[in-house]
Point group: C2
Chain length 136, copies 2
């Protein structure tokens, strides 16, 4: 039984995100695959407690709009930033980072991803448990 089954999410939860790129249970709902100008996509992402993205980069940046719960955003070699409802993260291009839920809270954000000829994301290694636990 998944604890997120009855979460009061704004958008339908979508599909389970691939364990190739995420640790733990994460739900991905692509709301708009491409805007009219084909410059960006819009997705809603719901993270179970303890779940998170792998480390990754974006070739042309991404914007996160936190809609509920508590989580983290961390760039490589910098302290994690605590996130909660109403926070906005402007992620610069080519900066290695991850985002995800606290271990005691689910977490949801909208993700606006710029689309380029190289795609919208380059996936890297999972966030090690030691690194994740150090946030808390």
């Amino acid at each position: 039984m998944n604890s997120s089954e009855n979460l009061p999410t704004i958008f339908p939860k979508g599909v389970k995100a691939s364990s190739d790129y995420f640790t733990g249970l994460v739900w991905l709902n692509v709301l708009v695959p491409k805007d009219e100008t084909e410059h960006y996509s819009v997705a809603d992402v719901v993270f179970e407690p303890g779940s998170r993205t792998n480390w990754h980069t974006h070739p042309a940046g991404q914007i996160l709009l936190v809609t509920d719960g508590d989580g983290y955003y961390q760039e490589r070699n910098t302290p994690p930033r605590k996130l909660s409802k109403g926070d906005v993260v402007v992620i610069p291009s080519h900066v290695e980072h991850w985002h995800g839920a606290r271990r005691d809270s689910w977490f949801s954000h909208l993700a606006l991803s710029n689309i380029t000829g190289k795609g919208a994301v380059e996936w890297l290694m999972p966030v090690a448990d030691d690194d994740y636990n150090r946030c808390h």
Copy 2:
């Protein structure tokens, strides 16, 4: 006293939108004026019951993500579409339309507006009370 003062909004309410372009009390919070590629902006909009935009068009489209409350989206010469939490509206370029709250509900949405050399919006006339009341 404004009934939205204590609304449980996700994002801070921002500033009152200009009565030149809106009917009733509307709050506008520009979350990201321009993304890194300068292709779009992100704003949160909160409408008091009964409030709405003027008729307007976008030179390169806009996406609405409804985060709470109940409202309407209407294109010129088509029936209004009822909107509630979790709805997504992809507004094509150059199509005359308006959006706003029901008269008995506040309403909030995120607006992703494509930015062009001509700006992001061309404002037209207010939505007449008769046209607005016909939605209900």
